[in-house]
Amino acid sequence: MLKYYSKQFDVQITEAGKTVKKTFEVDKSVKTIYGVCILSNRDDLAYYRGSFRLEINKDEIYADGYSTKKIMSSENVEPNKRCFYIGKIIVGNGLITFEYTDSEDGRTVFAPHVVSLSVDGERESEI
């Protein structure tokens, strides 16, 4: 029986203008991923300065340089609509590669922050 799955993967951004690449592994019971969104403890920094690349099961979903702001949402968006739906992607090897790039922006001053990739999907459950 397939059940709802959601997990948040955090990336620490400690230096301005740098790219941070992290590979996460989802649980073996996870079969598909159908939604992604980006959160941060400094929304303004992630919104203005961030761009990213996302790969699931060695398949590039978002190309390098895609703006973070395009898949962020605020509290004014209904909670069940905050993810960006990408269709059902088979997780396969279970690896999610997230590459986040911070770049200088005229409106903000850098401070260390955390950027989180949240994924929604389906997992196999016997219950």
């Binding site: 929304d43 303004d44 919104y47 203005y48 300065r49 761009s51 398949d59 590039e60 979903i61 978002y62 190309a63 390098d64 340089g65 895609y66 703006s67 702001k69 395009k70 962020m72 949402s73 605020s74 509290e75 004014n76 968006v77 609509k81 905050r82 960006f84 739906y85 990408i86 269709g87 059902k88 992607i89 088979i90 770049s103 200088e104 922006d105 005229g106 409106r107």
Partner: protein
């Protein structure tokens, strides 16, 4: 088998009122462009703050006791410029739209501020790619961009313009079904 891919093209704008021609190189597997999105990364401070234009509302007698709100001092001019795209296979341009530099109003940082004035109000709604349906045979499309924000502020504003081209490609992969491709309502809201 077909799938959708995103292509990111960047170009730099440095002068006020600059007109820039550039080319967007597509993947050799691409056979159709299905969506266009744009974004702006500012590199320099705009230097000036522009007071948002206020509509002069007519005061009706019943509203006379309503306390007048303070004029907003914060806010930016958020149109960066205009982008036009032309495909080799089509006459005339197939895409022309204002490029908006998404902004948070200054009030965002103040917890007491009313959320409706922030750029984050409904990002998902605002940033759905603009749907187009352009078959491509060659691997290049021409782009023309005219700067507006520099002209408006009467100073050079340096920024990176990003163009995201969503295209369908012939590839032996399962691919991704992005929501905007199936959701007519959302794409027309833009």
């Amino acid at each position: 088998m077909s799938r959708v891919r995103i292509l990111v093209t960047e170009t730099s704008i440095t002068k006020a009122g600059q007109v820039k021609h550039f080319q967007i190189k597509l993947s050799k597997h691409a056979y159709k462009i299905v969506g266009i999105e744009t974004d702006v990364f500012l590199k320099s401070r705009s230097g000036k703050e522009i007071i948002a234009p206020l509509a002069t509302a007519e005061i009706k007698p019943t509203e006379i006791f309503v306390p007048t709100r303070e004029l907003r001092k914060e806010g930016y001019y958020n149109v960066a410029g205009k982008l036009s795209l032309q495909s080799m296979e089509r006459e005339n341009i197939f895409f022309s739209d204002w490029v908006r530099a998404s902004v948070f109003y200054e009030g965002f940082l103040r917890p007491s501020s009313f959320q409706i004035h922030t750029g984050l109000k409904d990002i998902r709604g605002k940033t759905a790619p603009k749907k187009v349906d352009v078959p491509v045979e060659s691997t290049v499309i021409n782009a023309l961009y005219r700067d507006n924000i520099g002209k408006h502020l009467k100073q050079d504003v340096t920024y990176t313009l990003k163009v995201f081209v969503w295209m369908e490609t012939n590839e032996h992969q399962n691919g991704v079904a992005f929501e905007f491709l199936n959701n007519e309502k959302e794409s027309t809201e833009k």
